[in-house]
Symmetry: C2
């Protein structure tokens, strides 16, 4: 059992006290963190020692909403109304997707997430076996679900649900525990109440959580009220969705009553701030939700509406936009934003006992940021520098479950040149 010590760094722990340890060290044995603190007295006893040279070491970031295969559509269509964008651009191309497209799109996204410091991500798409295999190979951690849209015949619906359930069953705790699974109706506006109820029942049977898109646009909320006499939140609550562990993406247009329900039922909300801006959806009332005790995490959504997967951009956006909207510079501090991308991300995926903070006994998922650059000078508050000045491009090393998968910007588990080439080739086959 190899014991490794990383020392002489600034350790940003994201623990309960938001402790930051200057000249700190972290010890790992195989997959697990065995030490966090000042340089230890038993320094000499470690098999391998890595000098962090003053760089910042922090928990790997957690991206709680996305669709990795859509990276093939980066820059293909921007600056369009949501419906035009979906109906005329995105959906026609997605209709041409083969498993091979999903595979290389997922690989491109996973590469980009590792490069920018994300160690755990949520994915909702189809051809999920390809994505799970890509996660297994790359050494990243994934919480995966086959998203189902309830259009078409009942036969089609049942076959999709079966596919989703089979995937959730066969891959849960896969890839050495790096993969967990969920079930996922796409949204209340694409799945009938009956279909959602069937998916909820299946999630009880399989003991997996639920994930869905919810209240992303004002139009969608109004339509839901018109059709079902209730907001999407009330509607899902009535169906029993929130009696299951559940994660919802967006929650942009939620009322005070909605927020009360989300808080009471401990629904996890994935805040996709940049995607919501770029698609013209609006700005989620995150300050209010935090006040009411809702667990908020950060998601990039897909590359098609972002257009990258650098969670550091979400960190800065989350910590600045709500200040501007509320005209109050004290709203969402740098520290609060960082917790959303670390421990609250883990909580949102029911993984907080394993990841999300640097504490003894947790899995060794962490990243090292190169602070020998202007962006981190002068050497004041490291959390401020990470959130307001840093970039995913500043990440140099990435570890997941104790295994290094990025070393000084170089991938150890991915053939970068091949992924870029194949992703480009597959994208050309779409248009």
């Amino acid at each position: 059992m190899a014991r490794k010590l990383l020392y002489n760094g600034t350790i940003v722990t994201s623990n309960t006290n938001n402790e930051v340890i200057e000249n700190g060290a972290i010890g790992i044995e195989d997959e697990t963190i065995i030490y966090v603190g000042a340089t230890p007295e038993d320094f000499a006893s470690y098999d391998e020692k890595v000098d962090l040279k003053g760089n910042i070491l922090l928990p790997g970031l957690v991206n709680t909403h996305g669709h990795t295969p859509m990276s093939l559509l980066r820059g293909y269509a921007d600056d369009l109304h949501l419906q035009t964008w979906l109906e005329e651009k995105i959906w026609p191309l997605e209709a041409k997707y083969t498993p091979e497209h999903a595979k290389w799109g997922a690989k491109l996204s996973i590469l980009e997430m590792i490069r920018t410091g994300t160690t755990t991500f949520v994915d909702m798409y189809d051809n999920m076996d390809e994505i799970a295999k890509a996660v297994e190979e790359a050494g990243i951690r994934g919480v995966l679900c086959r998203g189902v849209i309830g259009f078409g015949s009942d036969e089609l619906r049942q076959s999709k649900l079966k596919e989703a359930a089979d995937f959730a069953k066969s891959w849960n705790n896969g890839a050495g525990g790096r993969i967990t699974t969920m079930l996922s109706p796409h949204s209340p506006y694409t799945c009938s109440p009956e279909y959602i109820s069937q998916i909820i029942d299946k999630s009880v049977e399989l003991k997996v959580p639920l994930h869905t898109h919810m209240s992303e646009t004002k139009f969608e909320v109004e339509k839901n009220i018109e059709e079902f006499g209730a907001s999407p939140v009330v509607h899902l609550d009535n169906l029993g969705f929130f009696d299951r562990p559940s994660l919802v993406a967006h929650a942009v247009h939620v009322s005070d009553e909605d927020i009360e329900i989300l808080a009471k039922k401990d629904v996890k909300v994935s805040h996709n701030v940049i995607s919501n801006l770029k698609l013209g959806s609006g700005i989620a009332p995150i300050g209010k939700m935090l006040e009411k005790g809702v667990t908020i995490s950060l998601g990039t959504d897909s590359v098609a509406s972002n257009n990258n997967l650098d969670l550091f951009e979400e960190l800065k956006a989350a910590a600045t936009i709500h200040k501007g909207v509320a005209r109050d510079a004290t709203v969402i501090t740098a520290q609060q934003a960082l917790r959303m991308a670390t421990i609250q991300g883990a909580e949102s995926l029911w993984l907080e006992r394993r990841i999300g903070s640097l504490e003894v006994g947790k899995d060794a998922d962490f990243i090292v940021v190169n602070t020998n650059q202007s962006f981190f000078y002068p050497k004041h508050d490291p959390v401020s520098h990470l959130v307001y000045s840093g970039s995913g491009r500043d990440v140099k090393d990435v570890y997941v479950q104790g295994k290094q998968i990025l070393d000084n910007g170089q991938f150890k588990t991915i053939d970068e040149e091949k992924v870029l080439y194949e992703a480009n080739r597959m994208s050309k086959l779409l248009s």
Copy 2:
């Protein structure tokens, strides 16, 4: 006279037609662009040839508002109400500044701007000789002004104005034409109408433009109306400020009447979107101003309220935030944002005949972005990739007036290690 050709790149010109040339080339002779187009027939006749290897080459970015010496205060105070931030944190530290602080703060900022692709920047501060010398050394381009605050005795005011005028006179067209100057009353709320009038008169005498902060917060606008019976825009217009070439920073809280005046008087507006968010000031009505024909450019403001000088972040913020606020994904396209950071930046500084786009006869100010990374794959619209997916960290080469000052991420005119060290040392002397 050395002739150099950069070829085999994607040339994003920012010319009137927003032309993008695939497999393009740019030829320069000394300071000047002599060719833009496909690989030229007289390829062999160039003295030096640089293979761009498919990377994107675009005009150097223009940052139209900032305070470079304040980089020493990065991360020193965040998440505070504007007045607390200024009065309890920023001003007490600034009061301790010596010319040595201004010098190393400016050098840290200039280094960061070059590293992230800015080739021209506006600076409003004091100890401006130090800043001008730093510009001269680094090879960047600066539009500089000694900002004056009208508090204290009339003697103090006059001595500041004299200092500002002396600086504007002695450095205008300095550093081989890379420096131009302006005069700058800090703001209508820190300078009396009489003092502003004196500064306007001096600008006529020296034939230099005017720069000021304006309508940054709601409080400031309300106070102006209370004190002078007019909004800051109407107030400045009444004083004759806008009869001079003038650049105003912020314009967050402007009425329809204000916007009419800004348009009619051709006032240039520097949009500091991230700083306005982070300080809780609000979100400027840029869509409306563009509609009325106001020239909008992008500024970072200082590092103390941003917290970096990467203009790519402003590009993405400007192209996404207004979509979210207006709930309209067609507001401010990627191309519009890029024009704000290039040709409209040049127009805002009355330098559009020399910089801001890649056209024959203009100065050779441009940057090369490394597109051999996931962020630029698949190879769809390069402008979308630059604005929505790119980062200043992706800039590899920077040229100003035909001289290369960044080469594959390495500084050619700056001792990076020394600047980081000295900036850190000087900042420690403040607290």
